[in-house]
């Protein structure tokens, strides 16, 4: 059965898995990625080790890219964006803008894998002085340092003696307008805390949290490991403000389980920033006329038993474009989306053949 190709938008974990899966089912795939390289956020944001198994991000993503690169069924278009779409599946005509100019292609189904973007801690409020203090960084900045091979205090270049993480920055916050949990930041913070204690055994590490959300196996793989083996200090209570004293930043907050005020200098403060809908996800929602759910991610219908179908037949979403997702979620959603897209196309072909 000859079909129009499945359009996969986005070359991150979900998009790569969707493309691989579709090709394995014998479906031609058009994989569009706006950046010049494949791999998505783990590569573009310089992640060092992936949560929770600590495998090197480059290695993992290269494996995913290699799985589709030589496949004749997968047509990879880097530096290309979808700028318009017309018609309904299985006959959607999309306009692609790429290095070689504009092109119109007819696709049978669409899987949107445009992911998330990291919350910008300086955007909404300046309560943590992210753009003011060199020693206030984000989980992503920390990843960049790990990838470069050394975790240092940015203002001095020296090894820090005391580091703290502040959880839920940009998540679970009505003031900011993001009333969701970003799911992965607790795990990533534990992972980074473990890495800091491994690299710098003399460095004390604190995690200030509201709830540690270590679902499933992350509980003992990350949280217990950080607390019991690596002696990371978990303190329930969110830092209220960060001020400067001399050349150090001082955090102020409450230890809520002890009912005591915390006020202590830190060499480095790591803000555990969450996920927001990416610009690409919002744009694709507009182009394909996909409604957004109340948190501004792409709406899926039929939850909880259907995590990938949108309001439009033949158009699916996988990964963090549909809401905060870890890698396991994203990969699983990609598989489910491919299964539904292939099923949809097969049914359409059978109907057409009478």
């Amino acid at each position: 059965m000859e079909h129009n190709p499945i359009l996969v938008i986005g070359g991150g974990p979900a998009g790569l898995e969707a493309a691989r899966g579709a090709a394995e089912l014998g479906q031609p795939v058009l994989l569009v990625e706006k950046e010049p390289i494949l791999g998505g956020t783990p590569i573009l944001a310089s992640y060092a080790a992936l949560t929770p198994h600590m495998e090197d991000a480059e290695t993992v993503m290269k494996r995913m890219v290699d799985a589709i690169l030589e496949d004749p069924l997968v047509d990879v278009r880097p530096e290309t964006q979808v700028t318009a779409a017309e018609g309904d599946a299985p006959e959607i005509t999309v306009t692609l803008e790429g290095p070689k100019g504009s092109e119109q292609v007819t696709v049978g189904a669409v899987i949107v894998c445009t992911g998330f973007q990291h919350f910008d801690p300086g955007r909404e409020t300046q309560m943590y002085g992210y753009y003011e203090y060199d020693d206030v960084i984000t989980l992503v900045d920390a990843e960049r340092m790990f990838k470069a091979g050394s975790f240092v205090r940015p203002s001095t270049g020296e090894a820090p003696k005391r580091v703290c993480f502040i959880q839920c920055v940009g998540s679970r916050d009505r003031q900011v307008g993001n009333c969701w949990c970003s799911k992965v930041c607790c795990g990533v913070a534990c992972k980074e805390a473990i890495e800091i204690r491994d690299h710098l055994p003399d460095c004390q590490v604190f995690v200030f949290y509201i709830d540690m959300r270590m679902y499933g196996f992350w509980e003992d793989q990350l949280y217990w490991k950080a607390q019991e083996q690596k002696k990371v200090q978990f303190i329930r209570g969110i830092v209220t403000e960060i001020t400067r004293r001399g050349d150090t930043v001082v955090i102020k907050g409450e230890d809520t389980t002890m009912g005591r005020p915390v006020e202590v200098p830190m060499d480095v403060v790591v803000l555990s920033i969450g996920m927001e809908p990416s610009e690409g996800s919002t744009k694709m929602a507009e182009i394909f006329q996909l409604p957004l759910e109340s948190h501004r991610f792409i709406e899926t219908i039929g939850a909880p038993m259907n995590t990938v179908s949108t309001t439009r037949e033949g158009i699916y979403v996988a990964g963090a474009a549909a809401g905060p997702a870890d890698l396991e979620d994203s990969i699983s959603m990609a598989g489910a989306a491919v299964m539904k897209a292939a099923g949809f196309l097969r049914k359409q072909a059978l109907v057409a053949a009478g």
Binding site: K231, F234, G246, M258, V262
Partner: protein, 243 residues
């Protein structure tokens, strides 16, 4: 130079005590052979607090011990060591912990460290127990029948008066002869008392008592020296006594 390890809390006490001193005592606790199975990590969930009889009546929380020690918060550890470590009744109801912690066990070890270092908190806490310590260490019994006096137990009713007035008779009504005692819970032979004394001495318990209550220690030594001498032993030649 900035304090290398400042207290976490703005209201931290004992700021005048050097960090190294606190760390030394902390390390002594964690070096104890029981430590490894006393504490894993703390959720700060409070399951131990709701089970704790002391927490019901005092400003005391077994959770605080688990969480402070899990965090290795040396400053707050020192606060606990000098204060609420003595508010625990050592009933171990707190061991119903999902992480399998033993807050009461942490307290056991901390108390021993406090006593071994003769901390003022240990002296204060144990002052009221002098009589009990003396009785246990010299006889092996603690609660004596003659403690049952009507003035002390008005809520026990009129029977107390009756029993107290004729304690000797009541005690003799109990069949085993070893219970025909009024000043001790039961009759303790001199051999047993000497053996007990040697156990206290050889296990270092007497040294602990000396550090926190020299008066009681001296009385004990004197009484036991006399007893040993009566039986032809020399207290200063402990080796021969053990043989």
């Amino acid at each position: 130079m900035a304090d290398p390890s400042p207290p976490l809390y703005a209201d931290a006490k004992y700021r005048e005590v050097p960090f190294e001193e606190k760390q030394r005592l902390f390390d002594e606790v964690t070096a104890d052979m029981r430590w490894e199975t006393s504490l894993y990590g703390c959720y700060e969930c409070g399951i131990c607090v709701a089970a704790c009889p002391s927490a019901r009546f005092y400003d005391f929380s077994p959770r605080v011990f688990a969480q402070v020690m899990a965090r290795e918060d040396v400053h707050t550890f020192y606060e606990l060591l000098n204060e609420s470590v003595w508010d625990c009744s050592q009933c171990f109801s707190c061991t119903r912990c999902p992480r399998q912690n033993n807050p009461g066990g942490i307290i056991t070890i901390m108390r021993e460290v406090a006593v071994n270092h003769g901390l003022q908190s240990a002296k204060d806490a144990l002052k009221a127990y002098s009589r009990i310590i003396y009785k246990i260490m010299s006889t092996g019994t603690q609660v004596a029948p003659d403690m049952l006096q009507p003035d002390f137990f008005p809520d026990w009713g009129p029977d107390v008066q009756q029993v107290s007035d004729h304690l000797d008779v009541w005690r003799r009504a109990i069949p085993p002869e070893t219970l025909h005692t009024t000043e001790l819970a039961w009759d303790v032979s001199e051999k047993t008392r000497m053996e007990l004394y040697l156990i206290w001495k050889l296990t270092g318990n007497l040294e602990m008592i000396e550090r926190i209550d020299e008066g009681i220690f001296m009385i004990l030594e004197e009484v036991m020296e006399e007893l040993l001498e009566e039986h032809g032993y020399d207290i200063d030649d402990i080796e021969s006594v053990v043989d």
